[in-house]
């Protein structure tokens, strides 16, 4: 079984940023993502998640390293000033690299 190294970019942010996030994905060429409704707490207080508009989402993107870097740079430049969000990256190995 052959696996292929990729980056997993994880974004946790207020649910309101959703449309902008998806627009960014389209712009930089991210074609797949997975989205979780989550509760959370951070520097901007607790987000209990009973009102979707005030809630949190976690979005995960598997992407080739170069694309992951582009995505994270855009997030840093354009989303950090506007939204409550945190972003991190980790290493994964995928089956079927053609899908990414």
């Amino acid at each position: 079984m052959k696996t292929h190294p990729m980056k997993l970019v994880t974004i946790i942010c207020e649910a309101l940023a959703r449309e902008h996030l998806l627009a960014l994905f389209a712009e930089v060429g991210v074609h797949g993502y997975t989205l979780f409704p989550v509760e959370g707490a951070g520097s901007q207080g607790r987000r209990p998640g009973d009102i979707a508009e005030f809630g949190n989402i976690q979005v995960e993107v598997v992407a080739a390293p170069a694309l992951a870097t582009v995505l994270m740079e855009r997030l840093q430049a354009e989303f950090f000033p506007r939204f409550a969000l945190i972003v991190y990256e980790s290493d994964v190995r995928v089956l079927r690299p053609s899908k990414f």
Binding site: H20, L24, E27, D50, I51, A52, E53, E78
Partner: protein, 328 residues
């Protein structure tokens, strides 16, 4: 009039809906593990908006458009003007930033559907008739103030980058197709088209359980609002006063305008309530996206933790008393 007012306030405070709101506050303050799932919150919202819209539409089909355009126009004008005079007060008396002033002004020009619904409940309880098509005013008052607020707040700021252009276009789209406007206006039109016959079919759903559903929803709103209470000290004394003075002033103007536009005593009360209420769902979402530099703590706390409870408990009876005084 005094004993009347006290009596009305008491009647309101002892209605199931308001008592459930208080229970929600207690649940939250006592750190109870009671929690509404998000899906229930959304469901109750969808139900209340479609039900009130549908009933309003049926009423509209019976009253005819001529009866509505004049007070409807008054409602739109009111929604547009409130942020224009609130802004300087917030900016120069309250010394808030451009963005904060604009955002708060937008909240107070826009409306709270739940406050409106609670007011119709109150009127029913005191047996005061009102124009059921008043929902139409609710529908047209949500968006104008938000658009005005965004324009006020954007004068200073500038956005660049492909994602952030078209902010106004997006705001306009939201004003027309945002969840609450779409449901309200949609159900209103459906009610108008299907008329009495449609009402006969769906009464058991849109009317029979309505007041009880509202009570359940206010239980949740009590929890939501009082979660914001801990931010009260962060908003400062000025905003605290504004959160109570603004609804009183706007309520008075709304009642007067309603009277002038030919609405009944109940209808004028409702226009007063709309003017007095502050949005805490549509406006915050719009501000978060269009004026991210405005502080959610300020606008959400004042709209949700000060003005909303004030209106729900004593505001509504006060606007009713004002309408009676004006009528007499």
């Amino acid at each position: 009039m005094q004993p009347d007012l006290l009596h009305a306030i008491q009647a309101n405070l002892l209605s199931p809906a308001v008592l459930f709101f208080v229970l929600g506050v207690i649940a939250s303050l006592s750190k109870s593990d009671l929690k509404f799932p998000e899906a229930l919150y959304v469901t109750l919202t969808i139900y209340l908006l479609t039900a009130i819209g549908f009933k309003g539409g049926v009423a509209l089909s019976q009253a005819g458009f001529e009866a509505v355009w004049r007070p409807g126009l008054a409602a739109i004008v009111l929604g547009t003007l409130i942020p224009l005079w609130s802004y300087p007060v917030l900016r120069f008396v309250g010394k808030l930033s451009v963005a904060d002033s604009a955002a708060i002004a937008a909240h107070y020009g826009s409306v709270s559907a739940v406050t409106f619904i609670a007011a119709t409940n109150f009127l029913k309880q005191v047996n005061e008739p009102f124009e059921s098509y008043a929902t139409a005013f609710l529908a047209v008052m949500e968006s104008p103030a938000i658009l005005v607020g965004i324009m006020l707040g954007k004068r200073g700021g500038k956005r660049e980058g492909s994602l952030w252009g078209g902010g106004t276009r997006r705001a306009l789209h939201e004003a027309a197709f945002g969840r609450s406007v779409l449901l309200l206006v949609g159900a209103l039109i459906i009610g108008a088209l299907s008329g009495k016959r449609g009402m006969d079919m769906t009464e058991g759903f849109f009317v029979t359980p309505f007041q009880g559903v509202l009570a359940l929803f206010l239980l949740e709103m009590g929890m939501v609002a009082s979660r914001r209470l801990e931010d009260l000290k962060r908003v400062g004394l000025f905003l605290l006063c504004f959160g109570i003075a603004a609804p009183l002033v706007h309520g008075f103007i709304g009642v007067a305008l309603g009277h002038w536009a030919g609405l009944s005593l109940g209808g004028a009360t409702l226009l007063g309530v709309l003017a007095a209420s502050a949005s805490y769902i549509a406006a915050p979402a719009a501000m978060r996206l269009s004026l991210p530099e405005a502080s959610p703590t300020l606008y959400l706390t004042s709209a949700l933790a000060i003005t909303f409870p004030f209106n729900i408990t004593v505001g509504i009876p006060i606007y009713y008393a004002l309408a009676r005084w004006w009528n007499s």
